[in-house]
Amino acid sequence: MPEHTDNFKETPFVSITDVYQSFGDNQVIKGISFNVAKGEVICIIGPSGSGKSTLLRCINGLVKIDAGSIKVKNLEVHDPHLNKLELRKIVGMVFQQYNLFPHKTALQNIMMAPIHVLRQDAGEVKDRAYGLMRKVRLEGKEEFYPGELSGGQQQRVAIARSLAMNPEVMLFDEVTAALDPETVKEVLVTIRDLAEEGMTCLLVTHEMGFARELADHMYFTENGVIVEHGPPEVFFNAPEDPRTKEFLSQIL
């Protein structure tokens, strides 16, 4: 697979080199490499089961890799002596199923990790949490429990919860896949705002219009390898690989 080095002037912020991963006999990722620069937004698309979500989970160490290397900032993710706290302070993740803590209010969901993990002052954290609720346009919903919020609102709380740790890179794992069509937009707008502020974002998504508009670079994975990649204009308008063409023709 050709390395793309043309758009990197500085050292990459996330660097994935020749990663292999399997669950038992099932080889999920079969040698994936790519780099992400600071402030870059990349979108990974591909059929289900192609290893996209697993790849994201490898980046923040939720899933162990068999071989290869993943570097985030200056941390080697799969170093057995890695300080996981350091890694997870840098990498925020948002899930398809929101995974809010149902026994806590929206505000408490945001405040928990800074208070218990980073041991920050509760008053300061609270102020910041209110700010984050405003940022995801949910002011007034602070005292609502996740069960009382719509899917789109829950997902925006989940984004705010992740941002409360002040991450430097955000992973979005099909964050709109479980949402009703009318609430997809509010979540995408939140992500776009983030990207425009310069947050490094890795998105696994099926929202092609959104990817085309926002991504700096597109990746298409199938069967655990990257089949094709490139800037969105080229990727969407003139795909080269027949598998990419077929996938795009099905989805667009």
Binding site: N99, A113, H116, V117, R161, M165, D180
Partner: protein, 300 residues
């Protein structure tokens, strides 16, 4: 606005299936006959009254029937039983005490055992699983006998003699199966929490201990309460097993009363009387459990 989460575990048809062995059988409303449906439409208060009324009727009939065969020179059955009531109540109080203490010990140790079953260390995990399965699948009476005959009647700790009366042994014997069942309740509740909760909290850098105590367990308490209360009701009914090993609880005393009075016609009324107490004690617990379950199903 409530949104259904498509990947969430499908709602169980009967949420009590998890520990079905421990649960009172009750027909599901869907498959129930017409009469059952009418029955379930009754308010729970009336339901309780009807059941208690039946028991009173059985007890009264047995006492009256026994009294009818009775000569005139002896006091009536009802008067005799009332005379013995203070003694029998004392015995019943002892049953409740044993049930409280067994439940307390069993819950304390069982909770630890339940959490150990999800330990990341394989030896800890496997040994706690084996321990749980062993005590969960042993007859309660056999465990009780073991404790009776294997434990010493006193322990000497540094010259201090601590007596170990039979009823303490009974408490220990009963708390073993309670422990194992509580451990299963805890493990089941933890496993019923969607894996996304673990992933999300892990990605927010919570430690494993924080995950368990701040994220997972607080969501488990509600799920654990109904089966735990069920277990308590079952334990209370099982405390009479202690009579077999000679603890002076209500059944032993009832037997002694019968022996002292030497009136065979007392047999059915006295045991019905005791039955009535247990029913009056356990049935409200069962009703309350069902109500909590319904409430929690609506909430989730």
């Amino acid at each position: 606005m409530f949104r259904r989460n498509p990947k969430r575990r499908p709602r169980q048809v009967n949420p009590r299936h998890r520990l079905a062995v421990l649960l009172p059988t009750r027909p599901g409303v869907t498959g129930a006959s017409n009469a059952d449906q009418k029955f379930s439409q009754l308010s729970s208060g009336r339901l309780r009254a009807i059941h208690l009324l039946w028991l009173f009727l059985i007890f009264g009939a047995s006492a009256f029937g026994a009294g009818a065969q009775n000569g005139t020179d002896q006091p009536s059955i009802v008067m005799t039983i009332l005379a013995w009531t203070p003694l029998l109540l004392k015995g019943f109080g002892f049953n409740i005490l044993i049930s409280f203490m067994s439940m307390a010990f069993g819950t304390a140790i069982g909770s630890v055992l339940g959490v150990l079953q999800i330990s990341l260390l394989p030896p800890v995990r496997f040994s706690s699983r084996i321990l749980t399965q062993f005590f969960r699948n042993s007859p309660w009476l056999v465990l009780l006998f073991y404790c009776m005959f294997m434990l010493p009647f006193e322990i000497t700790v540094g010259g201090l003699r601590i007596p170990f009366p039979d009823w303490i042994k009974a408490v220990i014997g009963l708390s073993l199966p309670v422990m194992a069942n509580v451990a299963e309740i805890v493990r089941g509740a933890i496993n019923s929490i969607p894996s996304g909760q673990w992933e999300a909290s892990e990605s927010l850098a919570f430690t494993r201990r924080q995950q368990i105590w701040l994220i997972i367990m607080p969501q488990c308490y509600k799920r654990m309460l109904p089966p735990w209360m069920n277990l308590y009701a079952i334990l209370t009914m099982a405390t009479v097993l202690a009579s077999i090993v000679g603890v002076e609880e209500v059944m032993t005393l009832a037997g002694q009363v019968l022996a002292a009075d030497g009136r065979p016609e007392l047999l059915v009324p006295i045991y019905s009387f005791v039955l009535l107490w247990f029913f009056a004690y356990c049935y409200p617990i069962a009703r309350w459990t069902i109500r909590l379950e319904r409430k929690f199903v609506l909430n989730t």
